[in-house]
């Protein structure tokens, strides 16, 4: 491995082949998109709490066209909701989360010099970057960005006559998504190959840290499900542009009867959710993996039930492929199918429950150290419980009839998928920052960041369940058109208040992140006393990760507080003592 080839600025920071630099590129792009997506949510939250009122900030961001006199335009409201969902789900919690931690951790934790193909890895980032540019460009087109919801159900997304955002904005959305899928597939294949083929000596699959398992399974999920979204989008492009009728049939719009017959919008929903549901777990599993590491390290205890944790990851991943219909109970799908999907969906509660119990058992009789990363991991356990439980309501087809597409759903998925995944991401950043940049992040700012985020996030999303139980549909520009929703304005004001507080406090995180890169205190080689391989590499970033030979692995990843050892952690490289059981 050549450690000393000349690096120019371009090859070191921009077109880098080094997995650690690519990870940072994903992270910082993801953070940028996170800020954009969050700002959007604050803009439309203002409208929801104070419908029809004028805000200078709206006009300032959106201009005279989309916020005349500071009042949000209803089409722009739908566009903001759509783009907020698209950005957070795909750009932040898929690419930002997996892209960062898979790239950063896989070679370091399995003991490899780099990814199987550094070049494909670089391509993966640059496709993602191109997708980002296209998506951001769509914010500035005359008819506005895509507005048909992040699920882009046709015919709404297929017909510019139905909503202006389905013009050029939707085209750009589809192009961006295609580029995104290419990026995701290139990355995913690379992760799978690397984990299967490049593990160092002694690193058997059963010695992999759980975050490796999670990222491995996520990559498989992505490779199997993203192509389906790609084909769904492709058929949509055909319908939009070339006059085919895959999804369109018997439509009269803007006074004109369209020629399309024989298509079915329900087909799109099936194809979309065949990706869409695994996608939820593509977002969640890396967070589950990260949290497993962080909780184990900071409880100074082995993760409880390693095997059960791996099996439950696999079970969740497998089930995620046969539950997509629970998004479609009331589409007119055969009720028998509804029964089948109710059955498979509720089964997911079993492996999820096992995970929660195992986390609690890991904390039990631990020696818990409250780092900011640990706090976010705890936050994850809490949101995973809360959001998981409301899933039992939504997965039950009979109950879904009346809460489908209401704020109950919004509350549910923001807690179980949004908050959990973003907490996992924060936990990961705080935990591996010393490895990424050789510096420590400020602990006190981390504490403040956690507490304000934790409180305001529940303040935003918990009350939404009540809105949903009051019957309030999601994606409503305003709830003033119905007398039955009048009493809900108070709740909306509370939600917006917490959204703004929670939004502002993220500035602390961003400040802490960039300040610590440059001026943070120097990190030691293994600041958390962790057993895994990444902490055996030098603090300085080098190509090839280890200056000498790659270390050999001699035990599993969770020997914390093992009796018979002087320290409360035993690195994976340390040979078993005579007569010592592995675990």
């Amino acid at each position: 491995m050549s450690d000393h080839h000349n690096e120019t600025f371009l090859s070191k920071y921009i077109f880098s082949l080094d997995h650690k630099m690519i990870a940072k590129q994903f992270l910082i792009t993801g953070m940028f998109m996170g800020v954009v997506g969050m700002l959007m949510s604050i803009l439309f939250r203002l409208q929801l709490s104070n419908p029809g009122e004028s805000f200078a900030v709206l006009e300032w961001f959106l201009g005279e066209k989309w916020a005349p006199d500071g009042v949000l335009d209803p089409n722009m409201y739908l566009a903001l909701v759509t783009m907020h969902g698209t950005i957070l789900i795909f750009w932040v919690l898929t690419a930002g989360l997996t892209g960062t931690f898979a790239n950063f951790l896989i070679p370091l934790q399995i003991g490899a010099r780099d990814m199987a193909s550094g070049f494909i890895n670089m391509l993966s980032y640059w496709f993602f970057f191109a997708a980002t540019i296209v998506l951001l460009t769509s914010l500035f087109v005359e008819t506005g960005p895509a507005s048909a919801g992040w699920t882009i159900y046709p015919p709404l997304s297929a017909l510019p006559q139905a909503i202006p955002g389905s013009g050029l904005g939707q085209d750009l959305w589809l192009i961006a998504m295609t580029l995104f899928i290419v990026s995701s597939l290139l990355g995913g294949l690379n992760y799978i190959v690397t984990i299967l083929n490049l593990r160092t000596k002694g690193m058997s699959m059963t010695r992999l840290p759980l975050v490796m398992w999670a990222l491995f399974i996520v990559a498989i999920l992505g490779v199997l499900s993203f192509p389906v979204l790609l084909s769904a989008s492709l058929l949509l492009v055909f319908d939009r542009t070339f006059g085919t009728s895959f999804y369109l049939s018997d439509i009269v719009i803007a006074g004109e009867a369209l020629h399309h017959t024989g298509g079915s919008p329900i087909l799109f929903e099936h194809l979309f959710w065949f990706l869409g549901h695994p996608e939820v777990y593509i977002i969640l599993l890396p967070a589950l993996g990260i949290v497993s590491e962080v909780i184990s390290v900071n409880s100074r205890k082995p993760i409880f039930g390693y095997k059960a944790m791996v099996i439950s990851l696999m079970a969740i991943a497998f089930l995620s492929f046969i539950v997509w219909g629970h998004h479609m109970f009331i589409t007119g799908m055969d009720p028998f199918l509804g029964s089948v999907f109710t059955f498979t969906t509720l089964l997911i509660a079993i492996p999820s429950a096992v995970k929660v119990f195992n986390y609690l058992a890991t904390l039990w009789r631990g020696s818990i150290r409250f780092t900011p990363a640990m706090l976010f991991a705890i936050g994850f356990v809490s949101t995973f419980i809360t959001g998981g439980l409301t899933g039992i309501v939504l997965g039950d087809s009979a109950l879904d009839i009346n809460v489908h597409d209401t704020y109950f759903v919004v509350g549910h998925f923001h807690i179980v998928m949004g908050l959990s995944a973003i907490y996992g991401m924060f936990a990961g950043v705080y935990h591996w920052f010393p490895k990424m940049y050789g510096k420590m992040m400020n602990k006190k700012l981390g504490y403040i960041h956690f507490w304000v985020t934790f409180i305001s996030a529940y303040g935003v999303f918990f009350p939404m369940h009540f809105l949903g139980l009051a019957g309030l549909p999601r994606r409503y520009y305003s709830n003033t058109a119905f007398p039955m929703f009048e009493g809900l304005t108070n709740i909306n004001e509370i939600i917006t208040f917490f959204a703004i507080v929670g939004g502002i406090v993220q500035v602390l995180f961003i400040f802490n992140f960039f300040y610590s890169i440059f001026y943070g205190t120097k990190a030691s080689k293994n600041p958390w006393g962790s057993t895994t391989l990444e902490w055996t590499t030098p603090i300085e970033r080098i190509h090839g990760n280890w200056p000498g030979e790659i270390p050999t692995v001699r035990r599993w990843a969770y020997d914390y507080s093992k009796p018979g050892h002087d320290t409360d952690f035993v690195p994976q490289t340390e040979p078993l003592k005579e007569g010592e059981e592995e675990h």
């Binding site: 015919p155 909503i163 719009i253 409880s299 058992a361 009789r365 009346n402 039955m484």
Partner: protein, 326 residues
Amino acid sequence: MTNVFIVVISFLLVVTLVQLVRVGQLLGDIRKKDFNVVTETDNKRQSFLMLIVGLAFLASCVWQYFAWNPLLLPSASSEHGVIIDELMRFTMILIISVFFLLHLFLFYFLHKYKKSSDKHKAYYYTHNNKLEYIWTIVPAIILTGVILYGLNVWDRITNADTSEASVIEVYGKQFGWNARYPGEDQKLGSHDYKLVGGANALGIDIDDVNSLDDKVTRELHLVVGKPVLMKLRSQDIIHSAFMPHFRVQMNCVPGMTTQFVFTPTKTTKEMKMLEGDDFEYVLLCNKICGVAHYNMQMKVVVETQEEYDAWLLKQGTLSEKLLTQK
């Protein structure tokens, strides 16, 4: 001017933050301690906070429940809605108990097992198969119950008897609703989307004899205690007919007809007595459909057979309407 202020204040805040962090770092240097190492004091403080904030969160959930309960939907006004409500109550009791139980364990463990001194060592405990079997099998048994109960309710709703039901069509388009009543022959006439236009807003085929006495209305009137087979269609894009008081929701999909069977049990008048004079049943759109999605509604009235007959008599038939047009 305000903008300048905002910029100046933000800048000063960042500067303050930088200075605070630097003071912390310098203090650490002086005391020869790494400022970012988590100390026992930190553990005590954070675990205490965790307990306080955690319990406060649980308390706030209880508060929200009592404060906002009056805002929630009244109990169901339809036959199947009552069994949905029962299933909901059962599920809610289950998940709320688990929610409190698991969170109490979480906050208690975090407080109890914080690292409080150097002597505090964790207990090396990797797995316990028996325990893990128990907490796999117990949730599995509980969920079997939930699934069987849920499927039973679902089956009763979706396989409801339609032989006695009167057919009514609900038709959605950007951004409004129509209802169509079959008239005396009790049969809805056929339709073709290419016929939509002018007075024939629903594209009904007037060459079909069944169509002639069909009645198209702007309100949905239902007879109390009488089952309804609601047929749903859409003119343009997917809409969703949502009637929260009846626990009824079904998508309207262009190119196909969907349906939902239900029996209203309380008249609008009865509901006004229970819920106040402002009360109205409503059918609203619950699938994103464009700029006025948030205001796509139709008034729903549940009344006695006599009131219903009187109302329906006043509605003109399709043949009358279309012939006067011609």
